[in-house]
Amino acid sequence: MSETAAVSAEVRERHEITTQLGMWGFLATEVLFFGGFFMAYALYRHSYPEAFAEGGRHMAFGLGTTNTALLLISSVFVAIADRAVRAGRRGLTLGCLATAWLMGLAFLGIKAIEYTQHVSDHLVPGRHFLPGQSSNPRLQLFMYLYFGMTGLHAFHMIMGLIAVAWLMNGVRSGRIGPSRPEPVAVIGLYWHFVDCVWVVLYPLFYLVGR
């Protein structure tokens, strides 16, 4: 009995390494996907530093900083959930995941408030772009990158919320538990990655020119 338990533990561990490697590989593609946008940002920030500095001053510094804090703290809860599920503490796992999920939702809510503000400030690129007389003519490029990159990040946040909701459902029904804990770690990797992307986006858009 104990021997079969040991064998199945080993099989499970091998399986966990395999799925984690799969997620790391996927995250590598994600880095390169955002990389195309970062390349554009680097090029144009180098070409038009004043426009980017002005763009940074249009950003809501307080809201952006709050969002950064929200994501960083949510990642802590996801990390605790990983430990908790291995220890078989279902209630703690669910509580941590739910907290992280709500913080992710709050992040998106704050992002929506910011977007609404930009719309009423006429900062959305395109025909309605009207930043005012003294504005730098290249500001539109900055705002384009801002909407593109934070929008893409928000899309990844939504995917993350769906994935964590799936996790919570699995933990609640018992499909994910001490005998099969690895989905928490694997989706946790994704959550941390989306968090890390924001940690880079935050200085690029909110701290530039400040």
Binding site: L21, G25, T29, L32, F33
Partner: protein, 527 residues
């Protein structure tokens, strides 16, 4: 005994998680896309029979070469060896029961088909005239037609590459049989491994590039738009950051196939195994650093041009090493000129011509002369068709007995291989001369002095067409009516030949333990 081909219901095929069946699903799909893309090429060659472009209007001609390029690149060449032969063979070669993530594998096929149908829809309802490269600002601002749909199709199909690449990398790392160390892997596996790395790292950049182009087209403003300070050249940099490594997605697995065939049909271990493995990795790595050679005449700085030129020359070193090692493997071997070897030798010869003419193009002053001419067209067709398609067909013939459990008619197959070789050279060699003389690519009309060479090229294309039709017919026939092959008709080494043909659904009754070095052939003992 039961095989993976039992239970022939449509439902069981469409819901299969078996890597062998998914490989065959890809085989049918890419053959379908190849046929459409080849028909577009045939229409172009017929149109070019006359200098005045009587057959099709320029607008239609532009749509034909876009259709040809998009389908051939993303829906045939890129998935050909990895997704068909790789899916079928990789788990067998590493001694596993399946790939690491079977459901992701099936998902990759569905994603591929979704992308393919988007592209087909775009072609049927008006087409696209941007060329397969989607250069801005033409694609984002001026082009009529379904640019968005076609780009969306390519974007979606990219996920199929990413899923497959991920699956293969994890499979090779995690599911190798006991004793199958990295330096005992068949070179085919090394080829697939390097290809997978490129798929995983380069494809997302294409996705980002097409997304930026699509956003610009949708909203009328974007990062490649000079009116707001954007730079259209950035599109080319990002596009070729994917598309040059993609060229190696299209050739590295072919190199793996050729290594398997040449060792088997000369009954010798491959010459310089480790060097061959490292050469594949070196080509994959250097492939990421040469994209700028597509922009020598697009306002790239001279300094950047010199650096990219130098790096492009570097790629030829590991490539030449491979050619020399294949030749040395053949030396004093016990050679049997069977169909797969004819294809493999064709690959070596044509790839060498394609590679050497690549050096002409990597040379800055020569490129100024031949850029945008038929010389470039001939160069990359020598690598893509002369190289990859030959390797793919060689591989399909080599592993056909394993896939189907049956043999094809050998003499007919040899005849078809030679027909393809002759037809190919007759089609594309004249294009080197045309390009050198200054005929630009992508025009439906040309000055009358180029007439004779164009007629020659079209004549070659018709021979090539017959050559492609033959295997399509006799392989389908052999699949049902061929002589039974037995598990190992070529007396080949490698784990895939230790299981019955066709293999059972679970591949191995017991996971094998590998004690042998790769390619343990001996030319003395076996004719």
């Amino acid at each position: 005994m039961s095989t993976y081909l039992d239970r022939p219901t449509v439902r069981s095929w469409l819901t299969t998680l078996d890597h062998k069946r998914i490989g065959l699903l890809y085989l049918f799909s890419i053959t379908f896309f190849f046929t459409i893309a080849a028909a577009a090429a045939a229409a172009m060659r017929i149109a070019l029979l006359s200098p005045s472009g009587d057959l099709v209007a320029s607008d239609v001609y532009n749509r034909l070469f876009t259709t040809h390029g998009v389908l051939m690149v993303w829906f045939f060449l890129i998935p050909a060896v990895p997704n068909v032969l790789g899916n079928f063979l990789l788990p067998l070669m590493v001694g596993a029961r399946d790939v690491a993530f079977p459901r992701l594998n099936l998902a990759s096929w569905y994603v591929f088909m979704a992308g393919g149908f988007l592209v087909l829809y775009a072609i049927l309802f008006g087409g696209v005239d941007t060329g397969w490269t989607f250069y801005t600002p033409y694609s984002s601002t001026y082009a009529n037609g379904h640019v968005m749909l076609m780009a969306a199709g390519v974007f979606v199909s990219g996920f199929s590459s990413i899923f497959t690449g991920l699956n293969f990398i994890v499979t090779i790392h995690r599911l190798r049989a006991p004793g199958l160390t990295w330096f005992r892997l068949p070179l085919f596996v090394w080829g697939i491994y390097s290809t997978s790395i490129i798929m995983v790292l380069a494809t997302p950049v294409l996705a980002a590039t097409l997304l930026l182009m699509g956003l610009e087209r949708a909203f009328g403003v974007g990062v490649f738009d000079p009116r707001i300070g954007g730079d259209p050249l950035l599109f080319q940099h990002l596009f070729w950051f994917y598309s040059h490594p993609a060229v190696y997605i299209m050739i590295l697995p072919g190199m793996g196939v050729v290594s398997e065939i040449i060792t088997c049909f000369s009954r010798k271990p491959v010459f310089g195994y480790k060097v061959m493995a490292f050469a594949i990795l070196a080509i994959a790595t250097l492939g990421f650093l040469v994209w700028g050679h597509h922009m020598f005449v697009s306002s790239e700085s001279v300094f950047a041009g010199v650096v990219f030129s130098f790096l492009s020359f570097m790629v030829s070193v590991p490539s030449a090493v491979k050619v020399f090692n294949w030749t040395t493997t053949l030396m004093r071997g016990s050679i049997r000129m069977d169909t797969p070897l004819i294809y493999a030798l064709g690959f070596v010869a044509l790839f060498t011509i394609g590679g050497l003419t690549g050096l002409f193009l990597a040379t800055l002053p020569v490129d100024v002369h031949v850029h945008g001419t038929y010389f470039v067209v001939a160069h990359f067709h020598y690598v893509m068709v002369g190289g990859m398609v030959m390797a793919y067909l060689g591989g399909v013939h080599y592993w056909f007995p394993k896939i189907s459990g049956r043999l094809y008619p050998e003499m007919l197959a040899r005849f078809a291989a030679l027909t393809i070789f002759i037809g190919f050279n007759l089609t594309f060699f004249p294009q080197f001369i045309l390009g050198y003389l200054g005929m630009p690519r992508r025009y439906s009309m040309y000055p009358p002095e180029f007439h004779a060479l164009n007629v020659l090229s079209t004549a070659g294309a018709s021979i090539l067409g017959v050559g492609y039709l033959l295997p399509l017919i006799y392989l389908v026939w052999s699949f049902y009516r061929g002589r039974p092959a037995g598990p190992n008709p070529w007396k080949a080494k490698g784990l895939e030949w230790t299981v019955p043909s066709p293999p059972p659904e679970h591949n191995f009754d017991a996971i094998p333990t590998v004690t042998e070095e790769p390619y343990a052939y001996n030319p003395e003992e076996d004719p």
